[in-house]
């Protein structure tokens, strides 16, 4: 196809940007470059996603790079998350520069790793070869590890160590799974170059050997599940998310988890095809989803730290998406939709808590009382985004959760339904209690002041508006894209 060449610039652009960040001589300039280039790249990604939306699958390098509806939908989410986070990073670190907490060396390291991890995440989406997809996931761990401890403190080192070890080992399991998938395809007699190409495997999923494929899927679920923060493999997640600088937390929560879930989505049709569409793989995914929801709800109830609250909320929402995938049918569509809604809302929540945290010098929600008056913009952003996250109508998250519930009812999965409702209710109570206390409450006097630019206002308004819009009206092309993506995973609406 004529537009195939476009896959190359979206990979080379961030690499060049990373290089550029290393050559700049002042932290302000680096932040400017990050904001400008990051936003530009996001626009480019958006354009590519729209191209796929209208033209269909793009592929290059003899099908080793492929962008179909599923991956371009995720590319769209990534574009939004990365663009917004890049803009926000400038605001966030400018405050640190003003307080002498961020020097040139930090800036260069941040800029290079920021674009580097972005490249890794996009390459996960672009690689049609399942082995290279794994390489991409592992690369995101390695590149973001040092972003987590951008400020070297005992706590951030501890978080980084756990993140590095748990995710590396977890993802190693995923590689065992990948090898087993290749083994299950041995009987197809493929050439070595084609062994792990997803398009080839998907085309003959029914002929993969079921035994190794089942074993493979267990390993893959544990491996990528670790990276996606599904309980009970989530132990690294709250630490890493709460210690990382806020823009990094936003991109970890907003897209990196989704990238790992995306890998699981790729394997679902393979395992379902190999085991005769009996729902064997889906059942496992559903189980993990439920465990994640319940565990996250329990931890949210007793949480005081705002960023940890959001981190556990990510565990919960990853669980919800997994539930959607596991239920199948309309649930798959709803899960995909939920992924986008969650990412938009979660980055807004992180931006708000990050700015409030800078203002108050802590992320403890109990010490953040009166945030709404202290900083109307971020206070509002935090409060409303938490409201949306816990599922308030008529925002998009409420709508997608409703769709997942519909799928559960449709499948007559009453246990899933009950657990979903119970966990959601717990989260609703726990999070709302904390958010109200933080937003209103007795105002705490703090010495620091903070200025907000027009971009910050646009970020908050834009995210909230988008969430409201998506809740009320889903544009037809986007809807079509999500439906085709759901069909790729195997959900038939």
């Amino acid at each position: 196809m004529a537009a195939d060449w476009i896959l190359w610039p979206i990979l080379t652009f961030p690499v060049l940007s990373a290089g550029l960040c290393l050559t700049l001589h002042s932290p302000q300039r680096i932040l400017g470059a990050v904001a400008f280039l990051g936003f530009l790249w996001a626009l480019l990604l958006g354009a590519v996603a729209v191209t796929v939306m209208y033209l269909g699958t793009l592929s290059a390098a003899r099908h080793w790079l492929t962008l179909d509806m599923l991956s371009s939908y995720h590319l769209l989410i990534f574009g939004m998350v990365f663009g917004a986070s890049s803009l926000y990073a400038r605001h966030y670190f400018s405050f640190e520069i003003a307080h002498d907490e961020f020097n040139l060396e930090d800036g260069r390291k941040f800029g290079a790793l920021w674009f580097g991890s972005g490249t890794a995440m996009v390459s996960v989406l672009l690689c049609n070869n399942l082995g290279l997809m794994w390489v991409g996931i592992e690369a995101t761990t390695l590149l973001t590890a040092f972003l987590v401890c951008a400020h070297v403190t005992p706590l951030s080192l501890e978080a980084m160590w756990k993140y590095l070890v748990v995710c590396s080992v977890g993802v190693a399991f995923a590689f065992i799974g990948t090898l087993l998938v290749a083994a299950s395809a041995l009987e197809l007699g493929l050439a070595a170059e084609d062994t792990l190409l997803w398009t080839v495997l998907d085309g003959s999923a029914e002929r993969l050997s079921p035994g190794p494929m089942k074993l493979a899927f267990v390993f893959l679920l544990v491996g990528y599940g670790t990276k996606a923060g599904l309980a009970p493999m989530h132990s690294w997640l709250p630490d890493a998310h709460s210690q990382a600088p806020t823009p990094v937390s936003a991109i970890l929560s907003g897209f990196m988890l989704n990238a790992a879930l995306y890998c699981i989505m790729r394997y679902l049709p393979l395992v379902e095809g190999a085991t005769g569409h009996l729902g064997w793989g889906r059942a496992l995914v559903t189980l993990l989803g439920m465990i994640s929801m319940v565990l996250a709800a329990a931890f949210i109830l007793f949480q005081h730290d705002g960023k940890r609250l959001l981190a556990y909320s990510s565990v919960e929402h990853m669980g919800i998406i997994a539930l959607g995938l596991g239920l199948g049918g309309i649930g798959t569509f709803a899960g995909l939709w939920h992924a986008m809604n969650h990412s938009i809302c979660k980055i807004l929540a992180f931006f708000s808590i990050g700015s409030l945290g800078q203002l108050y010098g802590t992320h403890d929600l109990g010490k953040m009382a009166g945030a709404m008056r202290r900083s109307p913009l971020w206070g509002l952003g935090f409060f409303v985004s938490v409201l949306i996250l816990i599922g308030s109508a008529p925002f998009a998250i409420f709508m997608s959760e409703l769709q997942i519930l519909r799928a559960a009812i449709h499948q007559e999965a009453w246990v899933v339904l009950a657990i979903f409702l119970a966990a959601a209710a717990l989260v609703f109570i726990g999070a709302l209690k904390l958010a109200i206390a933080a937003a209103w409450g007795e105002e705490v006097v703090v010495p620091r002041t903070q200025s907000s630019s027009i971009i910050d206002v646009l970020l908050v308004i834009g995210a909230l508006g988008l969430l409201l819009l998506l809740g009320l009206w889903l544009p037809t092309p986007l809807h079509g894209m999500m439906e085709s993506a759901a069909q790729i995973i195997g959900g038939r609406p």
Partner: protein, 217 residues
């Protein structure tokens, strides 16, 4: 040139390095064992010789032996020296229990290898996949039961070695690009973990992972 007895010798060496790794109390010996394991495991593709392209196999062997057999041990020894840590392993689980666990892991892997209907691996002995799996389990055991952060890096390398053997046994031919990517990732991971251990030792004055527990809930 398919050498069943040589392959067997290599696999036995791998198992013996695993045992020595679990049984020895010196971090230095552990590091040397990991290096030895990397070298002998790296030789497997040429011994198997089911490669249509011998050049490819040799390239892979040179790459993995250089990284796993030479670079990793050098790096780890350097970290050990720079971090200035006590050279004892200090496991949570005793040496004898670890050894017995390793033997049980081997038994389990063999049992699994015999019951599980894996598609006929291209070539190689029936022992290869179980030994690979055992090595993975031993690596996990090292990660879980050892106190020093550097032991976890060692355990990670052992897991990587195990996956490598497992992969050679199971699939034989994964595309070159993927192999190189995996090797590259392992290299960077160990490199970063080494830096992290060093930073932890600077910041905390120790590298005991059981004392890295400030964040809870």
């Amino acid at each position: 040139m398919n050498h069943p007895s040589l392959i067997e010798a290599v696999l036995v060496t791998v198992v013996l390095t695993n045992l020595q790794l679990l049984g020895s109390s010196r971090l230095k010996i552990c590091i040397h064992m990991v290096g030895l394991q990397g070298i002998v495991a790296g030789l497997l593709p040429v011994l198997l010789d089911h490669e249509a392209n011998p050049l490819r196999a040799w390239l892979l062997v040179v790459g993995s032996v250089a990284i796993k057999g030479i670079v990793f041990p050098k790096l780890l020894l350097r970290v050990l020296r720079d971090a200035g840590v006590c050279r004892e392993v200090e496991p949570f689980v005793g040496y004898i229990l670890s050894l017995l666990a390793a033997v049980s892991a081997l038994m389990f892997s063999l049992w699994m290898g015999s019951t599980l209907v894996l598609p006929q691996a291209p070539v190689g002995t029936t022992l290869m996949a179980p030994v690979g799996f055992t090595t993975i389990l031993v690596g996990l055991l090292v990660i879980i039961t050892r106190r020093k952060a550097i032991s976890q890096v060692i355990g990670y390398v052992v897991v990587e070695n195990g996956i490598y053997i497992f992969g050679v046994a199971l699939v034989g031919g994964v595309p070159m690009l993927v192999e190189l990517g995996v090797l590259m990732d392992a290299f960077v991971a160990v490199f970063l973990m080494g830096i992290a251990v060093y930073k932890i030792s600077r910041e905390f004055d120790h590298i005991d992972v059981d004392r890295l527990n400030r964040m809870q809930g």
